[in-house]
Amino acid sequence: MAIEIPLLILLVLTAAGAILVKDLIAAVLILGSYSFALALVWALVGAVDVAFVEAVVGAGLATVFFLLTLFRTNEKDRQIRRPPVPWTAIVGLPLLGLLLLFGAGDLPTFGDVNSPASTHISPVYLESSLEDTRTPNVVTAVLMDYRSFDTLVETIVIFTAGIACALLLRKGGS
């Protein structure tokens, strides 16, 4: 818990930087460091696989995509004048915030060993993955075997993104 607090503060600070900095390239690079801070937090919580993916995908690939776009377009957030805040945001945000706090009331505490999420199905994965699949990394076993169909569909999502980018940007492609 003690190391976590500075990391969480770093997280908020980097997010603030990415939002507030006017130079878009700098903002995107700060966003990359936000991803990296996030990866550190997750590694601390014990989610190494998620941390690895976030570090590689979030801090790496996403930043590269952002930068490539900025090279082809405009690097400055000009912001000539501040537009009025849309009324949907004025009404919606406080409501959403209240809903978030409302929902927090009954959530189990952080690290609760007896929460339904820790007791209902997940022990099955942990206890039988080695016998079922000879795979010590339980996350990989669940990702590619117990719930492999989700992974297939998600691979379709990536493929679709590739095709979609080609359709949108390559003139007369194919």
Binding site: V48, D49, A51, F52, V53, V56, V57, G60, L61, V64, F65, L68, T69, F71, R72, E131, D132, T133, R134, T135, P136, N137, V139, T140, A141, L143, M144, D145, S148, F149, T151, L152, T155, I156, I158, F159, A161, G162, I163, C165, A166, L168, L169, R170, K171, G172, G173, S174
Partner: protein, 153 residues
């Protein structure tokens, strides 16, 4: 299209780093069942190395050969994944039920192990190809017609 970078430092460093990161990508992919990593991470690392090659040496250079050629296999990764599932269907089980992969001399957990490995490879190929493809699409300039055939299979 993307022009080659003319700094000697960048080019030399690129020559060293790119093969290393490709090796690392393959290592992460193969080691995914024992430690953190797996198909996604391996694929992304591999894609990153190829994007680096394209950014440093340009699309048309021989150093970016791999990145260019890999684009021909747009759906191969997905077809590997779906193919493993299809083999399970043909073997008489449900889709993606690795117990029905007809591999001789293997007990059931090992079949699952092989199934996981094959599908990981499928995911990695798909992620790597798509990552490079999106990067190339994003860096396309408006009035380019020449290098289109080279970049899209």
């Amino acid at each position: 299209m993307i022009q080659p970078h003319d700094s000697a430092i960048v080019r030399t460093l690129g020559r060293i780093i790119i093969p290393v990161s490709q090796l690392f990508g393959i290592y992460v992919l193969m080691f995914g069942q024992y430690g953190p990593g797996g198909g996604f991470v391996g694929g992304v690392v591999f894609a990153a190395s190829m994007i680096m090659a394209i950014l440093i040496f340009g699309v048309d250079s021989t150093d970016s050969n791999l990145a260019r050629k890999i684009l021909h296999g747009d759906g191969v990764g997905l077809l590997i994944f779906a193919g493993v599932g299809g083999l399970c269907l043909i073997g008489g089980g449900q889709f993606l039920n690795y117990s029905y992969l007809q591999i001789p001399n293997l007990d059931e957990p090992s079949q699952h192990f092989v199934g996981i490995l094959l599908t990981q490879i499928g995911v990695a190929v798909d992620v790597a190809v798509t990552g490079v493809s999106i990067a190339i699409s994003l860096s396309f300039e408006e009035d380019v017609t020449r290098s289109e055939e080279a970049s899209n299979g």
